[in-house]
Symmetry: C2
Subunit: 322 residues, 2 copies
Amino acid sequence: MTSFPVHYSGPTLGEVGEHRAIEEIIAAAPSSRNGDDAAVLSHASPNSRGVATTDMLIQGRHFSLDWSRPEEIGMKAIVQNFADIEAMGARPIAALLAVSAPADTPLVIIRDIASGIASRVRDYSAELVGGDLTSGDELVLSVTAIGSLGGSHPALSLDRARFNQHVVAHGRLGWSAAGLALLKRYGRQEVPRQFAPLVDAHCAPYLNPGRGVVARATGATCMTDNSDGLVVDLSTIARRSAVGIDLFAAAIAPDPLLCGAAELLGADPWEWILAGGEDHTLLATTFGDPPSGFRAIGQVIRGQSVTIDGQAPRYGHGWVSF
Amino acid sequence: MTSFPVHYSGPTLGEVGEHRAIEEIIAAAPSSRNGDDAAVLSHASPNSRGVATTDMLIQGRHFSLDWSRPEEIGMKAIVQNFADIEAMGARPIAALLAVSAPADTPLVIIRDIASGIASRVRDYSAELVGGDLTSGDELVLSVTAIGSLGGSHPALSLDRARFNQHVVAHGRLGWSAAGLALLKRYGRQEVPRQFAPLVDAHCAPYLNPGRGVVARATGATCMTDNSDGLVVDLSTIARRSAVGIDLFAAAIAPDPLLCGAAELLGADPWEWILAGGEDHTLLATTFGDPPSGFRAIGQVIRGQSVTIDGQAPRYGHGWVSF
């Protein structure tokens, strides 16, 4: 049975009932498209294709209310799903939220998750267009993101990395894992102030919206996001594209903040960078200059594995569910 | 903690791991669109709009492995989501499946749920295009359906029932609730043979694909599906459209099979018909003749409530989650 931190008070879902709770969600994340059997999206632009992805988040496994505010959980749920849309070179346009929650869940938690979702979908000019709310033993969020892929050239797929392309990245590497390590050691309140950006990167990641569309428009061919771990996610590209990837150690080396956190915790910052995941940093390959907002971090080479300055990575194992 | 009927044997999710389990799901429900960060759907037809809906199903609340085969659970998850797409007058084109399951879940259960999904999406020429698999304490399925609404006239919304329209239905009424009542009394094996169609209606509902598109093309303006209960769902139309709805008792009266089950159980078949829900029968309003596959069951009148031959219904209370 889920339990909730004591500082979330007020009426519970069981007390207010399903209809009132749904009203609160819709008030927190309003959309004129919500409230019918299904949501009707905008007219598709000519020659466009829909893009869809889904992720499930479970309290105690994917997030903790001891560490994260409910708004942050909503924000993170959107960013991780929208990063998958962007990783196809598409524009996120809508999200759906299905929630299962125990009857003793404070209503304010669900409402604030919806507020966090609303704030992040607004960053993308997208909307929360529908959902479902039901009772269960665990707090489970299932977010689906829908995007639009304009124009007729291919999506940025995992199998289109080509020999001699640059490997480019938009976003931080290792910050989310460092933030998680700090939270595990100290709890949210006690993490030393200077490391707040790392904690924020874990609890409420942010990516500049639109980078996937920009990368596709300027010639990138392949993209993913750093969700399971840098080496794991790039290894997927390497395998699917039948190429090797060599990363430049200097381009992904830990910054002073990561080094400081690592020193404090007695950890190796390279583990966070190479195996951490959850940064949702966009990783792409392109023959041209890095697209706006991206920096070069490596090169597509012949081979079939991921190396760093030609060496096997010290850390490679990423997130697995079972 | 979820427990599983003993006759599901073989390796568990915890034993085979996430990757193997996902391979089994994809093998059971193949799609060339699956396997990247997000799924790219077909090119949208000119002037079309996307339509999306989601539903979450939890073991022990929305389905029971004691009563339903895993294939049936997959079938039902698709039909209830696709009925919501059809209820907009749209054509279902894709589904996504997020699953949370305990590590001791037999792999065969997940694979067979995917097989059931595959068989029903095929009925609609749709595909299971993506999903997520994670570990949790409960078996939770979250299905998202995506459809395409062609042409420029409006979707079949809840607020477009008009005075003097016919109320029409495609599908059975009360069969799902009767099947559930029989399962609760007898268990799957012991339900008398002649009532198998009622049990099937509960465990693996089926609707003729395409009825929503046909109804919209022939002039229907408003549609929903019977998911929470006939009176509850039509009351939503009445409230949102600011009309009354009078049902013809003779048109919705229990058929011999329902009467037989009611007699056996000492139940009132009208409760199943009026409050049962989960039939996913399509309910529409139109000025014209009933569209192909639909029958007239009532009339849109002035007022604000649902009546039966002018009388208040004996049963109205439907499904609520909390």
